[in-house]
Symmetry: C2
Subunit: 189 residues, 2 copies
DNA sequence: AATAAATAGTATCGACTCGATACAATATGA
DNA sequence: TCATATTGTATCGAGTCGATACTATTTATT
């Protein structure tokens, strides 16, 4: 029978993660996809915390994501704040309760156990391989990369050393360059 | 914020695969989990093609899997055959129609595109990393490995070179040693 | 040999997902 | 200014998935 080992591994990992995530969230009445959305919001920057950005990240439809976010808001894990300039936009901010929950549930117990038993060198190898696989998947299928500003071609530094986004024409703090952005684009090959 | 890069990558890959799989199966009225079950049945051996084995592989409950299999059977993608010795068991055999569908949908288009653009050397690196990650996850959490007989500690060879399973006390064909088995156990460390 | 316990599988129920469709509000552009 | 695009919400239906309850068969214990 046909066999693409990369696909087989990712499919299996994917299912295991889903089951683990379901179990972890069950105690708090959260579904895997809800945890993922919350997790994304904890690692994205202030230009990427809207429902549409979550939609693009998760690859679902905006209607579906709207429901997911409604649940998270009802559980007081995030709050919606209107944008000052564009009245169509909402910014989704994680609450203290949301952060605490993530700290507890993400990564899941299964993953924590496994990662602890891997030495630094092996971890680095795995990260590097996953990075390459994901980047290739996104690139060959014309999808957004959702990388951190640090690795974005729009990110530049001013004379005084401050970071600046050439696309959004906005200054960035050092911390912000470590967060993921929906507008991220890698260097041109 | 906390950040385990391995987890982040796997979570993201997992969601992308799920979305892609959903889209691929939608044309045929199949859900991601149904494709996964069918895929498993195409790469497992004759001792591992029962509903319970699928249940263990997917990590779900037997009730859930029973429904999944019912759908696949109704769509004539697999057939149920009673075991000759143990009347409680059913063996799930993929039909020609099922095989054809898998050929078409697994791996998904997204994955195929990406893998084609990776050279052999990078593919091997990724396979090796994924293999290590999955093995660690399964081992540290006491889960079954679902490996192929070829790498199983119960697999031995008789004087004439034939393969033999010491656990099930059954002879194996060469082809069978390339299929995954629910009883698989790696070498003792 | 009789009975208890374990194992494999199915059926049903309810909470939830997710795409599709329709809709309202705001922003952009000709 | 008016058409069009963008962001977001509401509702509906088919389907997932764990929980529970149940049957049938096998294995273990007395």
């Amino acid at each position: 029978m046909n066999s693409n080992p990369i696909y087989n591994y990712v499919e299996r990992l994917s299912e295991l993660l889903r089951v683990d995530s379901r179990q972890a969230g069950a105690l708090h009445g959260l579904q895997p996809v809800q945890l993922e959305a919350l997790h994304y919001l904890s690692i994205c920057n202030r230009y990427s915390d809207t429902p549409m950005a979550v939609t693009e990240y998760l690859g679902q439809t905006k209607g579906t994501v709207s429901q997911t976010l409604k649940v998270l808001e009802r559980k007081s894990l995030l709050t919606k704040q209107p944008d000052e300039n564009d009245k169509r936009l909402s910014h989704l901010k994680i609450t203290a309760k949301g952060k605490q929950l993530l700290q507890q549930l993400v990564p899941t117990p299964m993953f924590n156990k496994a990662c602890e038993s891997l030495d630094k060198k092996d971890q680095a190898k795995i990260v590097s391989a996953l990075n390459q696989l994901l980047a290739t998947l996104l690139k060959t299928n014309g999808m957004k990369s959702f990388g951190v500003c640090h690795s974005c071609r729009f990110n530049s530094r001013k004379e005084n050393g401050d970071y600046f986004c050439d696309l959004l024409k906005q200054p960035l703090s050092v911390d912000e360059t470590e967060l993921i952005c929906r507008e991220h684009e890698g260097e041109i090959a």
